[in-house]
Amino acid sequence: MFFLRKKKSHWEAISSILQSRNYLEENSIRLSSRSGVLISPSDHSFFQDLTTNVDKIVKDGRTDSNTVIEVLKDDQETFWVLIKDEDFPELISTTYTVINAVSNIVKPDNIIGSVFKLDLSQSKLIDVYGKVENCYLIFNSDFLGYYPFVPSGEERLNSLELDIYDILSSKGLEVLSDFNKWYGISSIPF
């Protein structure tokens, strides 16, 4: 049926995972307490001391934060801002803060993507696919949607990705339904 879709804001899209979390857990898909924001560098002064700058943004005005931030440069010359927080809403909020800050201070184009780790060890999907080492949700800031990414060596488990997508898309999570945009990210450091 026809209906008009109101385009969601960046925050609405990324935080949709907070509403879907319970449903995912009902399906024994757990979200880990870690996320990563992948950033491409530029000549901007922000990158001269990225660790301090990011830390300053994240901790700004907050004294009780338990968020742990780590910045590293990978072998493809891109930066990872790795975030760890046991408080899941806080993890999402901090991830958004980093994306928002980099977009405003440098350029939105510098954000390549944000990554969240999924734990499938208790899921029934394991009965079909066997043990899965790493499973991720990638958030694309350009198209404001999540999609699953399951690397397996040099390959990807596309069938499992589609199975996860089916679960994700049934309960309010902003998912990227255009499979052509499901680009993978190699060497995720967590």
Binding site: R5, L38, D109, R156, Y183, I185
Partner: protein
């Protein structure tokens, strides 16, 4: 699910059955109103009904031969593909229907279809492309889906539904030529005014009827997915075959996001996507919807077998 006496039982999807009956109801209602309108205008349609009915009966009885002719598929003997025969025989035996004829089309495009007015006269055809691309269990699931069409009597259902649309299409053409060259049962001057009105009403009925028939064909696909899944017991393999056939998996890119990010075009998501409109005019439901239903069916079937 294989029951006693070697027959299998399909647990019905009540929602799907309701939607199917509702579509039939709407189709009946549409044509009942249309009949009343034609009657009110004093239009004689009996000869068109006879022509369309004759065509429909011819098509219904000759469908297997016509499809073989149009697709250039060739009926094969057992020694040409013993594995294919073995799978089809096994499924037909489980469904308690005679084994259909098997045909193969020389095409790299992966596809399959079933035709025939009843199980006794049915035919299942596959392309060489599907034989190469699917594993044997996926092939079995696809063949079970095709036999699902035969078991559910889809040829009969769609022949009846298409009768209405073909009938309207004939009427439309008749009214068009009448508008140009003269009225029905009278002269052009007398009938010219209302013939335009009735022509546009017929167009509207044709359009709505077509949409309803397309909805019905999509429901029959879901129905065949369900019957086929119960027949082979492998909804997951049918889902995976659909993903392979439709090219869903091949659409997922293999490049790294880092490399494409700089080249990616930024698009504004349209308020009404083309997909929504395309769905209404499609004979088959979207593959992702079918896959989603099949995954659910797998869980449903698991629950049935674990509850005894």
């Amino acid at each position: 699910m294989v029951g006693e006496n070697n027959t299998f039982k399909v647990s019905r999807d009540k929602g799907l059955v309701t939607r199917m009956y509702f579509t039939w109801f709407l189709l009946g209602l549409l044509y009942a109103f249309f009949g009343l309108i034609l009657n009110a205008f004093g239009i004689q349609i009996s000869f068109i009904v006879v022509i369309v009915l004759g065509m429909g009966i011819f098509q219904y009885y000759m469908s297997d031969k016509m499809i073989l002719w149009s697709t250039k598929a060739k009926v094969i003997s057992r020694d040409k593909d013993p594995q294919l025969f073995e799978i089809v025989d096994r499924l037909a035996k489980r469904a308690n229907i005679p084994s259909p004829k098997i045909a193969v089309m020389e095409s790299s495009v992966p596809n399959a279809f079933a035709t025939g007015r009843n199980p006794k006269n049915s035919l299942v055809a596959v392309t060489t492309g599907i034989r190469e691309r699917l594993s044997s269990s996926e092939l079995e699931a696809v063949l079970a889906h095709e036999l699902g069409h035969v078991i559910n009597g889809d040829m009969k259902v769609l022949a009846i539904a298409n009768f209405f649309v073909t009938f309207t299409s004939f009427l439309m053409q008749m009214f068009f030529w009448n508008m140009l060259f003269g009225g029905i049962g009278g002269n052009r001057r007398q009938n010219g005014g209302y013939i335009i009105v009735i022509y546009f009403i017929t167009m509207l009925v044709y359009f709505i009827g077509q949409l309803l028939v397309l909805a019905l064909t999509r429901y029959r696909e879901y129905g065949a997915d369900r019957t086929g899944s119960y027949l082979c017991g492998k909804p997951n393999d049918l889902a995976s075959a659909l993903e392979k056939i439709s090219g869903t998996i091949s659409r997922i890119p293999s490049q790294d996001l880092r490399k494409v990010k700089t080249a990616s075009a930024f698009m504004i998501i349209p308020a009404l996507s083309g997909d929504d409109v395309a769905k209404l005019f499609s004979t088959h439901p979207p593959v992702q919807d079918r896959v989603r239903k099949l995954r659910k069916l797998r869980q449903e079937m698991n629950n049935i077998s674990s509850n005894g």
